[in-house]
């Protein structure tokens, strides 16, 4: 999907994102700045092309997940000025969140952690759409949560709003 942003290394500032599983992603500053978290961090420590800053990421953001986030940030750093304009960008966004469940949840978390607001909007909406009209059991299964309710506790919530379970 991504056409990549292979720009000539003309001394432009770069930053290296390192995942817990050891993979490194070298990105330019425009891409990194799509993330509020990285932007804040880099405004304090700085980075250069000769001696790029290496930023380690938490274990929950795997290289596969980070790949998606980087793909999004690169495309949006280039903005709608590229071939296809805003329409192509919107289509790119739509296709980006067509992910399997685990990947979608992981990318949502990564977008929240890295503070990429539009990506968080996109993935959160996709999650909200996915659980729309699900039964309680289905929501539990989707998020892999086991109920720890007593029968009484469940009854209390159901009685607050009986029509929701008709």
């Amino acid at each position: 999907m991504s056409e990549g942003t292979k720009e000539p290394d003309g001394g432009e500032e770069k930053v290296v994102l390192k995942t817990h599983d050891g993979q490194e992603f070298t990105v330019d500053m425009a891409t990194a700045n799509q993330s509020g978290t990285l932007k804040n961090l880099l405004s304090e420590v700085g980075s250069s092309s000769n001696n790029p800053q290496v930023i380690p990421l938490p274990s929950s953001i795997t290289s596969r997940v980070l790949g998606k986030v980087v793909e999004y940030c690169q495309r949006h750093a280039a903005g709608g000025g590229r071939r296809g304009g805003m329409q192509a960008l919107e289509q790119f966004d739509e296709e980006l969140v067509e992910l399997d469940k685990d990947m979608l949840l992981d990318v949502t978390y990564a977008a929240a952690f890295l503070d990429v607001p539009r990506l968080l909007d996109l993935t959160s909406q996709a999650v909200a759409d996915a659980i729309k009209n699900m039964s309680v059991e289905e929501v539990r299964h989707y998020f892999g949560v086991v109920s720890d309710f007593t029968e009484e506790e469940e009854k209390v919530i159901r009685s607050e709003c009986p029509w929701a379970f008709e």
Partner: protein, 202 residues
């Protein structure tokens, strides 16, 4: 990966859900229940369902309670003797046309007037008679004006609150829409009529 099991990271999703789905989320586990009880999420839901409600300070009851009480029609109840004045009422009126919000205001009861002094030219006779009649009918003028073409599906939501007691009621207006008179096709200041007889304050 374990990310999925940790709810706190997905709170943002809660702000995008419908009330029914958030109720389902409350039943997932204790942690989910305690998180989803936060009135912020219910405020998001109420603001989508009744956009005009966010034009005033929060209601005396929580947004959660507001949603649970008024998202469905209430069974009809015998009306108490009326001691109400429009001066103590505030209406939260939202109008959607084909799912687009076209009108959303918090309207003080003092704004409502009986009858329309200068009916606009070119309105159908049936509507003129409707506006002139001495039914229980209050009218307000709307700026900016908007029009609703015939044949469009209109959804109207009206909540009313009493300023003296902070009670809120929902007004059901299905029969009103079925009359076909309420929303004529003309592009003046659409009169919005509310019958106080249908107020059942809880």
């Amino acid at each position: 990966m374990g990310v999925a099991s940790s709810l706190v990271k997905f709170c943002f999703v809660f702000t995008l859900l419908d009330g029914e789905d958030l109720v389902s989320c409350m039943l997932v586990s204790r942690q989910w229940r305690d998180t989803a009880r936060d009135d912020y999420f219910w405020k998001c839901i109420c603001a989508k369902k009744w956009p005009s409600i966010s034009k005033r300070p929060p209601p005396a009851i929580s947004y959660h309670k507001l949603f649970l009480t008024f998202s469905r029609s209430q069974p009809l109840q015998p009306l108490p003797p009326s001691k109400l004045s429009f001066n103590t009422l505030e209406f939260f009126i939202d109008l959607w046309s084909e799912q687009t919000l076209i009108f959303s205001e918090a309207v003080s009861g003092t704004v409502l007037r009986r009858g329309l002094k200068n009916p606009p030219p070119g309105i159908p006779d049936a509507l003129k008679i409707h506006l002139d009649s001495t039914d229980y009918k209050m009218i307000m003028q709307v700026e900016p004006r908007f029009s609703i073409p015939l044949g469009q599906t209109i959804v109207v939501s009206v909540l009313v609150s009493r300023k003296d007691t902070n009670q809120i009621a929902r007004i059901d207006i299905h029969s009103y829409l079925e009359s076909g008179l309420g929303f004529p096709c003309y592009s003046w200041r659409t009169p919005l009529t509310v019958s106080p007889m249908s107020l059942a304050l809880r």
